[in-house]
C-alpha cells in the first residue's frame, strides 16, 4: 500500500489570480480516508489558506460537493482508495462562479429553489383545532424519493443544459417542486405549473439524464422532470378539451 497520495487542488484567490490554477499536495494515504479527510489534512497541516465548504461529513448536509477527477461528488463520501495510487484532482463544482479555491457561489440555486415554492401550499389552512394533515404510508411513498434531496447541487454540475443556459431552473429545483406536487397534503401544483411550464422550466430539460447518475441520494431528478412534463402535457390537453374546466 502506498504511504501517500497526491492531491491536485484548484486554487483561486480573487485578489491575486486572474484564473484558477492547480496546486499539488502530498497527503498520507489511508484506506478509510475520503477526499474531504485529505482536504482537512491539507488545511490543518500544509496550507491553512485552502478554502472549501463542509459540515456534517456524513452525506446529509450537502455542503461538500466538488468535482473529483471531473465528476461531481460529495467529497465526504468519495474514498481516496477509489483513485489510489493515481493523483486525485479536486475542483470546485462545475458551472457555478468560483468565489475562492473550492468555494462556489450558490445564490442562483437558492433563488431558483425558492421560485418553485417548495413548501406545502393550501387553498385554505386548517385551524390548529382541526388537527394535523394526515397521510398514509402509501401517500408518503409516492413522493418520498424526491424528498431525499439535500440541495448539494451535484446535479447542476452534471447538467450541460444548466451550463449552457444558466436561466434553466435545473434538476434539484424541479425535483423538489415535483416532491410537493405529489404530496397528498399539498394543493399548489397549479401555482408551480405556471412557474415551471415556462421554457426555462421543465421544457428546458433535454433529458441528458446525468443529474440522476450524479445524485448521491438516488432522487432521480431526471425522472421527476419527465414525469412533470407528462403531467404538463396532460394538463394542456385537458384545458384544450375542456376549456370551461377549473382554471
Amino acid at each position: 500500500m502506498p504511504e501517500t497520495i497526491q492531491l491536485e487542488v484548484t486554487r483561486y484567490s480573487p485578489e491575486h489570480d486572474a484564473a484558477p490554477a492547480f496546486q499539488r499536495f502530498e497527503v498520507p494515504y489511508r484506506k478509510d480516508w475520503v477526499v474531504l479527510d485529505a482536504l482537512n489534512y491539507i488545511k490543518d497541516r500544509l496550507d491553512g489558506s485552502l478554502s472549501y465548504r463542509w459540515s456534517c461529513r456524513m452525506g446529509i448536509c450537502g455542503s461538500c460537493g466538488m468535482m473529483v477527477n471531473g465528476e461531481p461528488k460529495l467529497t465526504c463520501a468519495t474514498f481516496l482508495s477509489h483513485y489510489a495510487p493515481s493523483a486525485v484532482r479536486v475542483e470546485p463544482l462545475r458551472y457555478f462562479p468560483v468565489v475562492r479555491d473550492l468555494v462556489i457561489e450558490m445564490t442562483d440555486f437558492m433563488v431558483k429553489l425558492q421560485k418553485v415554492k417548495p413548501w406545502i401550499i393550501r387553498k385554505e389552512e386548517k385551524s390548529i383545532a382541526d388537527g394535523e394533515y394526515l397521510q398514509t404510508p402509501l401517500q408518503l411513498d409516492v413522493y418520498k424519493q424526491f424528498s431525499m434531496c439535500i440541495n448539494c447541487m451535484l446535479c447542476y454540475a452534471a447538467c450541460p443544459v444548466y451550463g449552457l443556459d444558466p436561466l434553466f431552473a435545473g434538476p434539484a429545483a424541479i425535483a423538489l417542486a415535483q416532491r410537493y406536487n405529489l404530496d397528498s397534503r399539498d394543493q399548489g401544483a397549479k401555482e408551480r405549473m405556471d412557474i415551471l411550464s415556462e421554457h426555462e422550466g421543465i421544457w428546458g430539460c433535454t433529458f441528458v439524464g446525468e443529474c440522476t447518475e450524479a445524485c448521491p441520494k438516488n432522487v432521480d431528478p431526471a425522472g421527476a422532470i419527465q414525469q412533470y412534463k407528462v403531467a404538463a402535457a396532460k394538463e394542456w390537453f385537458k384545458s384544450l378539451l375542456m376549456p370551461w374546466g377549473s382554471k
Binding site: 462562479p97 442562483d108 431558483k112 421560485k115 449552457l164 444558466p166 446525468e210
Partner: protein
Amino acid sequence: MTQHGTRETTLYTPYHPRWYRARVSTYWWLRKWYYLKFVLRELSSIFVAYFVVITLLQIRSLSRGPETYARFEERMRNPLIIALNAISLLFVLFHTITWFNLAPRAMVVRLGGKRVPDTLIAGSNYVAWLAISAAVAWFILR
C-alpha cells in the same frame, strides 16, 4: 446577462466581478460517453425524420402506379442511398432502444399502491414493438 452565467436571478452578482466563471467548452459532449450518447440520441431524430420522408415518398410513388414505383425502386438501389439507409437504420434502432430504456423514468404506473417495476414498463414497450413489427412484416411478406 453576460455570457458565462451572470444570473439575472442573482441579486448581487454584478457587483462581484472577481468571481471566476469558467467557459463551457464547445466539446463538452465529448467529455463523457454518457454525454456523447445523449448527443447521438438527439442526432438520431434527423434519421427518424429521414425514414418518415422516404416512407411517404414510397407511398406516393405506389399510389401513382407500377411504373412510378419501379422508378422509385430503381432510385433506391443507388449504393449511396443504400449506405445512407443502413446508417439511418442503425440510428433509428439506437433511438428506439435508448428511448424504450428511458420510458420507465417518465412513466410511473402504480398498481395497488406499488410502483410497477421498470423492467416491466420497458419490456411492454419492446413487446409492443416486436408485435407491431411482426404484424407489418406478415402483411408485407405474406
